[in-house]
Symmetry: D3
Subunit: 336 residues, 6 copies
Amino acid sequence: MKFDLVTFGEAILRFSPVGGDRLVRADRFDCVLGGAELNVAAGAAQLGMRTAYLTKLPRSRMGEYALERIKNAGVSGDSISWDEEDDDRLALYYLETGAAPRKSAVVYDRRHSSFTNVETEEFAPAVEEGARLFHTCGISLALCAQSRAVARQLVESYKAQGALISFDVNYRANLWGEEEARATIEELLPLVDILFISEESCRRMFARTGEIRQILKDFSTQYDIRMVATTQRKVLSPQRHEFTALVYDAASDRFFTQPPYQIDVVDRIGSGDAFVAGVLSGVLKGETPDRALRYGNAMAALKSTVYGDLPCTGLAEVERLIAEHDSGAAGSEMDR
Amino acid sequence: MKFDLVTFGEAILRFSPVGGDRLVRADRFDCVLGGAELNVAAGAAQLGMRTAYLTKLPRSRMGEYALERIKNAGVSGDSISWDEEDDDRLALYYLETGAAPRKSAVVYDRRHSSFTNVETEEFAPAVEEGARLFHTCGISLALCAQSRAVARQLVESYKAQGALISFDVNYRANLWGEEEARATIEELLPLVDILFISEESCRRMFARTGEIRQILKDFSTQYDIRMVATTQRKVLSPQRHEFTALVYDAASDRFFTQPPYQIDVVDRIGSGDAFVAGVLSGVLKGETPDRALRYGNAMAALKSTVYGDLPCTGLAEVERLIAEHDSGAAGSEMDR
Amino acid sequence: MKFDLVTFGEAILRFSPVGGDRLVRADRFDCVLGGAELNVAAGAAQLGMRTAYLTKLPRSRMGEYALERIKNAGVSGDSISWDEEDDDRLALYYLETGAAPRKSAVVYDRRHSSFTNVETEEFAPAVEEGARLFHTCGISLALCAQSRAVARQLVESYKAQGALISFDVNYRANLWGEEEARATIEELLPLVDILFISEESCRRMFARTGEIRQILKDFSTQYDIRMVATTQRKVLSPQRHEFTALVYDAASDRFFTQPPYQIDVVDRIGSGDAFVAGVLSGVLKGETPDRALRYGNAMAALKSTVYGDLPCTGLAEVERLIAEHDSGAAGSEMDR
Amino acid sequence: MKFDLVTFGEAILRFSPVGGDRLVRADRFDCVLGGAELNVAAGAAQLGMRTAYLTKLPRSRMGEYALERIKNAGVSGDSISWDEEDDDRLALYYLETGAAPRKSAVVYDRRHSSFTNVETEEFAPAVEEGARLFHTCGISLALCAQSRAVARQLVESYKAQGALISFDVNYRANLWGEEEARATIEELLPLVDILFISEESCRRMFARTGEIRQILKDFSTQYDIRMVATTQRKVLSPQRHEFTALVYDAASDRFFTQPPYQIDVVDRIGSGDAFVAGVLSGVLKGETPDRALRYGNAMAALKSTVYGDLPCTGLAEVERLIAEHDSGAAGSEMDR
Amino acid sequence: MKFDLVTFGEAILRFSPVGGDRLVRADRFDCVLGGAELNVAAGAAQLGMRTAYLTKLPRSRMGEYALERIKNAGVSGDSISWDEEDDDRLALYYLETGAAPRKSAVVYDRRHSSFTNVETEEFAPAVEEGARLFHTCGISLALCAQSRAVARQLVESYKAQGALISFDVNYRANLWGEEEARATIEELLPLVDILFISEESCRRMFARTGEIRQILKDFSTQYDIRMVATTQRKVLSPQRHEFTALVYDAASDRFFTQPPYQIDVVDRIGSGDAFVAGVLSGVLKGETPDRALRYGNAMAALKSTVYGDLPCTGLAEVERLIAEHDSGAAGSEMDR
Amino acid sequence: MKFDLVTFGEAILRFSPVGGDRLVRADRFDCVLGGAELNVAAGAAQLGMRTAYLTKLPRSRMGEYALERIKNAGVSGDSISWDEEDDDRLALYYLETGAAPRKSAVVYDRRHSSFTNVETEEFAPAVEEGARLFHTCGISLALCAQSRAVARQLVESYKAQGALISFDVNYRANLWGEEEARATIEELLPLVDILFISEESCRRMFARTGEIRQILKDFSTQYDIRMVATTQRKVLSPQRHEFTALVYDAASDRFFTQPPYQIDVVDRIGSGDAFVAGVLSGVLKGETPDRALRYGNAMAALKSTVYGDLPCTGLAEVERLIAEHDSGAAGSEMDR
């Protein structure tokens, strides 16, 4: 099989004022490319997985722009679908970074993007090549009816081929309501093997109550899901987070977690996707759930310390960080 | 009357790579706001005119972003219409600046913008306030059926009120075909008092032949236009232009021009609009056509020497430049 | 009446090394315009008040520079007086931002500025237009005899017209001694309706002792002042402040305060003025003292999170922050 | 003797908008230190001369700022006088760089600077240490009565000690009138050994007519001046100059010149002073007038290619450039 | 066969002062990776060729740094050899960009680099995979005995396999003498199929005289070389070059050239390598020599307009430029 | 005697990604010069000491680059030895700044530098000029056999002349093993008068156990060392350190310390050297050990708040900080 991991979703530009200035008066912007499922593919590629990204891009210089970044992230863009229409466009958003008590703020401009014209048959050759694991998330279900249908059909096709299916709920209130989200996702869950869901989504969207461990286990039981994971982030300040996660493994009927990382946050966007990338890479490498969790946490911690939506690391660095964190020793201040 | 000049059109963000780098590898962008008719209003405001801008903006931080720049340019944004829809968006484009033989390149992302949902009634109160002169251009006719209808209706309303009507052909091949453009514009010309048209549009879109002076005069005669102006730019190199213009004045049945400015070009975008701003300001000040032309040329020359779509100057500077250019003397190297 | 709020004072440029470098080795500087009373006018304008600024600027490109920033802040500069003398100049200061234990440092270069030649009659037309509230501060009294006289005369004129008079003690040891300051300010206090004074000034300059609440009330009683306010800032570190304030309202004979904001400080300069702007806007809007205090605190908190002397916000944002702070809930991490 | 060259004059900061933007909208400035006589001292130091600079600076961090730059230029600041007054200040100016037809523009803010309080006795110890050559220029005569008196007295003292006296007319119309300048300078000329004067000053201020060579010679004859030099710059465009000079040597009664340098101008400010530095260094090294001229031209050419008022080169580079220019061969494109 | 083109040589970092400042006072540097043979591989990859690069890099973060740039250029780095020694290092050089009459200057720091420890056997697997064309240049022969031996052995191995051999003389006087260079290269020429040589190297190193066309043809005849190419660059100014080339094709016994490109030079380094990349891509695509020359010229022209040693373009852009240049028409000013 | 302090060691460039980005993707670098013994000399010069630096630099523009920075730091570079060989080079390293849990990382490229060819006789004239104190550190012993021999011989020569000898153990595991380091340093200790050693080196390299005070005293007793100092840094976070030190004075047989500074860390590199500079300056000024410690701590604290390896302060600032710290009062927030 050509790829370990294939992901599907929308790539989106992020423009943020240089130096963290306010959006309203900025005249210079840093620009990075992201997208939840792209972030996952990129993170897994950095851990040595062969990954591909299914998306639809405008056939313009901005489409080339996106492709260049996808390829530079080590992700195959060979199966990307190209929008040849006159109204082709690349989704984008503007990000203002906050400072307490002023919150970060986002202005989305992702409607009518080339991605929203996506069709399942555009990825037929990709699907044929197969994958060991397929991943998508709630954003792809939420964006529009077309992307929802394609996401669903891809899940079915890959499942039919024997691939594992991974799904991240990733609820965005600005894209759809909780009611619609729940109904849509519930239809998908019977196909899912690995589920990522926040505690807030458990409690609000799915109206689950009680202890979080029991909730995760219930999802597993109810939908026959092999692994259910939830991140546990404590925001001490915008610049200081604690991060760990909780993973339920159905095979062993056990829960896994580890002491949190203390993080100096440079840019938190994409850290949840980095966690997903780490966990899936662990699974693909045949590691234990305990070790998959460690990959996930280390990836999330490292992503949080670098600018941009995409992680920027490698397997050696991740292994080193895990070992150090496990040892509990602070170690030297500097790698010389 | 509250305003000397009211213009109607779409405001558009321009993102260009810092330092003139290639688009495909840029990760930092300079951002300015422009739009042909906004550029005209801003230029006239800098020459002391009371101006207002009619457009439609998203009700988001990016709409505020645009409004802030419009107000800072000295232009009233009080009659701007605000798009409250979920899919509101601000038009934008990406600009890569060339270096011979590599050309500058533009990627537009202006479809589905809030402006394309514009309705005439949104500007009813503005129209009631009146104006001495109303200006729009071919881009507003080309963008979509809705903006075309609004532009047409505003021309009619202001004309009915006794305002002068100014129109700049401003043909953009990427927005519509020459055939459609010609037909649409021809319907508008009987309402126009001041016409700006390039020699290329005269010859290609309107299939006029012969000497340019005769062509301009023919437009005037045929449609009863008071003033017809065309710019004459000679691109010696991307960094060095010669610029002047030719104006036909129906009242005196005379042509006006002047020796060209030698320009060190910093940013040529918007220089044609600056020319329009200068000419219209001259007319509004009750200056002779000869002097209106001088305002236009000086504005175009000055705009070319500053970054951004909008001009950045003032009446005193423009007067000083005209006097110096008329004197033919190079003058001192520096204003101390 | 044309304006809700008119303020009088000196506008001053601030040059600070890019990236927070040491002054002595900097070769690139960020430049912003500020000035205590300009900051107040700008803040009130951002909360929807119609404001004007009385000052004197050099008739040079640097005067235009200042005017442009004043206008962009939404403040009317129509009544600014222009210095036509050869030795006209704009006040400025250099700021080095500290990092503990190295303190921030300021080098003033504001002597002999155009403002120090200010004359009351230059503002006669402005005074005639009237205002609902007039504000100035101790810096204007301290700068020179001329500015002191003008400040005093403007207070009298506006008072005579029925405007409320607001005064911020704003003591600067580098401009005058405590003795002189006290004597001068005491003469002014009988005219003051709203007084802003730091606890340190109460205790040192005015030698008041005892509980701060009693001190504030005593000022009110002694000079018949309607409202006396003092800010309460706790500097946890240069990057982390707690901020709230204490307001005494004579009409109700009550004190108002609220739990402090936790602030990630980006730039603390101008936050005291932003507090004044908030309180005065509350008063002008006819809000309760309790609510005026909330405007003040929210403005100070927001100002602290943005670069520059001037605030950069709007009424909607301030209302949102107040509601959130009152609710006590941290809310979501990001405005999407 | 401790120094080859001592110069006297005012040090002045230059603030210019980053990236050549317009002054009125700049919020980031590059800052360099200059001053005609400082530029001369720095240039001579780079050619290996032991040089000192006499000036008066504020006793503040900005005075330290200036001193640091003076020392880094290789010039002794040990005899600088320090202003301890409260209103001490460092002169400064704002520079907007033009692009044709928009001219460069300067806004001076040098009045009331610490330098204008200069007193001759402050330099008594310096004068005692002596120098082989003393240099000042017309700006020091023009700034104020005090600096004029000090300049005159220093010329007399150094002359009395046997030093050569060099003077650059350096007329600035914004500082004084031609009439006053002429009268003042004529009084000084009998003390001058080396005179730098522009052709324009010869013809306008001194009302000389006829061939420039004869004019230079006449100055020499009339005032017993050993060497009279004038630069000959041809401004092809703001970015492209031709530069050479004409020197009259009284001893040999000969004129010296050489074919002009073709210069890609990066920053022309200070290039005239660099010429002076080169010529004086040639004289101090005991070179022929012909060779002194070559040093001057090479220094002016090199200065024009670097940012800032001060030159940035060294003897080896200057020698290499002279040799190459004399050889007439373009040489290789790059020094590898 | 896996690759169309394999090249061998040293990758080298280039540090140049930001904004074109002088090296001696720079404190911020732009950094790009280059290397003659890497530039060729990257250019060919951008024209659609499958390319690989053989080099030796330090097993450190700086080696990863280089690898990342090689991969992002679309070139396979799978066969790179990694230096595990303690004294591993990446070659680098410092570049100061000139402005007439100040020349650009380079300081090399490439001795003792990891590359200088290269061994032929490190590339054995790569050689086995084969290539349709192998390219190296004189720098690899010059750097040290080890790299010279490896270059020679790789030429022999690829030749033996049936690959075409391309060689660029690329003489660098700072690396070796002309005598040694000539002797070494002469030994290699019998193995060469495509030769790139400058006219200066023809005349000085090889002491050829007479008409350049005859010289190129003589090389072909003497060493049985299929194609001999020489670039023809006319440096009008550092910012303005004319560029074309002359190619001799042995099969047809014809010379090919075309009218020169007028180039606004942004960065000339690497333009010769871009020419090689274009010509070789033409050959590999089976194009005529005439067309291969056109690829070469267009690549060199485009490279000259972008910053960095590596080209940044694509096949579509190159085809468009060739067509436009052939048409002789200037075309529109901008690609919209 | 011409110098108070002479130090010997290697100067090294530091390249770190602008804005703290990851090394692997950086394309812009900040560059500073440092080197443990240069940092000490520069710090002492800023406290008023006459200092000189002995090192060997390449005779290239990069050697000039280093010399310029050494001179600008106030340190004499007159006795620097110049490497005229073809393979001359300046040592350098790449620094990536971390954010927890990602550590800072360093890649050294200092092998084969010009310094490694250093010979004792190159400094013979310098040694003759003498010094009151000579300082070097363990890095100079570790770099190579040649530098070790020169360091040893310089210590002996200066000792023989009556200079005090200061030595900082400064162990770098990447340069040599603990065993070799211990043996080499033990040979040197009998010559040492002032010793700087970290607690970690005491315990690991020298295998000392027990209370740190006793360990320091034992070194003093065993090797007849006048003063033994160790820094005590507590890393609360990468951005927040506590710093103080412990000094043993043999003459009084007493220990000195003070409450720690709370530091907002901007750049910690070089803060240990700044401590050494402070202590040595205290000794050279004839201050008590208690006061020497205070100089050291204040210098280390201030260095930590500025970017670069070199300190950037002056005696007045250091005295002010010491007084404030001793007073225990936080003082005002800002120096106005």
